[in-house]
Symmetry: C2
Subunit: 249 residues, 2 copies
DNA sequence: AAGAGGTAATTGCATATGCAATTAGATCGC
DNA sequence: GCGATCTAATTGCATATGCAATTACCTCTT
């Protein structure tokens, strides 16, 4: 919680001062130098440290608070926020949550796992470099005992070394990664595909049946973390989102 | 473009002044009193009209600009922005754009149209009230001559009376609605379904082939505008989105 | 030890002031 | 007219100042 040795805020001289401060602190948060719970120096301290006026520092902090990276309270001060678990998009990041929100019992089973350098076929399918060590996992998620989604995932071990010693029995890989790694960008692709015979058998559906395929890749500051293919029996699933023309107005 | 008789900004006395100003202007924009292109009074004018300091007015306007509702330029002033065509999600609102972004030639054809009270079956499928008058359209969109997506749509004529006199030959219904109606909320559902025989024939694919189904309903302030089912041959399409845990960081 | 009350740290908000940057529109010179 | 130049309107940014609101923490009383 406390700053024993807090990495310093460094300005880069590009653009308005308030924005330099904002970006500097944002980067410290995003790259993990200031993990969630870290207390941010009070406005006075930053003001002296940076040689800016309080209002300028304030402006940067207010904006960061609006963006959700920090939490501010009078008298208590400012701390780095935990990534919002309630973010609309994030819902689909946690399969246990997704299942439980449907009021069903969740289970998962790791069907296979291999660590090492990817085969040519695997590298191709997930857009990997051959040289890099990855964990390759296939996991089946069940809702009330029935197959819910088939997950095939690679984890970049260079980015998440701890994954090598984790067996994912307690927590499925997606959720484990959410709490054991940092990510700053994710890319989704959604498409419909017919079920391959092997996949169909695991999902207990007919081969060729329409399935929803979600492919997601996740990075932290350009370093790839993980890539996953989620195959949902299409007839049983819909993804719903709500928005307005200017965002969530 | 100009304010012949601009509806006035009215504060409600609730909360900080800068936020009252922000909400007041936001509401004028969202409810259509200040349509896109309207020029917003300069900071000086608002300052006098509202009895607030320039910095306070400034703060409200800066925030609205960051939210994308207004556009500001030095000397030229501030105008109400057009709803952002570049919004990631919005891309899929315009099929012509979607096709042209792929570098293909766009065409569309209205295959059928019926205006009147919906049949029981139709009301059921789109969640309509039986009493309400709607236009019911089936449109096929083509890319480079090949079927791209099959659109089935209902338009609530009470909300968009002008739709009754439009034949949608020039502009397909989705795009026409974008420029001829206001909307504040949309809901998407994405799922995978096998192609029905009729639909498969129109899309020139095999019956039962996996398709991506996007169902979208659109409202303006709780009043339904339109509902649409877009059926994409799944193997040919992917929808891609990108985001970070704190939004578009 | 427990509760009451006071103090001060910290953020939130508003104002006033001044200057910089941009550029639409006016003016000038030819 | 037409291009060059000037002027001033408008937004962008930073600072200094002052007060309000919240509340962690200290002190005092019993």
């Amino acid at each position: 919680m406390n700053q024993t040795q807090l990495a310093a805020v460094k300005l880069d001289g590009a653009g308005p001062i308030y924005d330099q401060i904002r970006r500097a602190i944002r980067d410290l948060v995003l790259n993990g130098s200031w993990p969630p719970g870290t207390s941010v120096p009070p406005e006075h301290a930053l003001m002296e440290q940076l040689g800016a006026s309080r209002m300028t520092v304030h402006r940067a902090l207010v904006q960061l608070a609006r963006e959700g990276l920090i939490t501010r309270r009078r008298r208590s001060g400012t701390i780095v926020a935990s990534p919002p678990a309630s973010h609309a998009m994030l819902d689909i990041l946690s399969i246990p949550q997704e299942v439980e929100r449907l009021g069903q019992r969740y289970e998962h089973e790791v069907l296979s796992r291999e660590d090492g350098r990817p085969s040519a076929e695997l590298a191709m399918r997930f857009g990997l470099k051959r040289g890099e060590r990855v964990a390759h996992l296939v996991t089946l998620h069940r809702a009330d005992g029935k197959p819910h989604v088939l997950e095939e995932r690679v984890i970049h071990l260079a980015a998440v070394p701890a994954a090598a010693d984790e067996d994912f029995r307690e927590t499925p890989p997606g959720d484990w990664l959410l709490s054991n790694s940092l990510w700053s960008q994710a890319e989704h692709a959604i498409s419909a595909v017919p079920a391959e015979p092997d996949d169909a058998r695991l999902l207990a559906i007919e081969a060729g049946e329409a399935c929803l395929l979600i492919e997601r890749r996740t990075w932290n500051q350009d370093a790839p973390i993980t890539a996953v293919r989620l195959l949902y029996p299409g007839t049983r699933h819909r993804f719903v989102g709500r928005f307005g023309p200017y965002g969530q107005v």
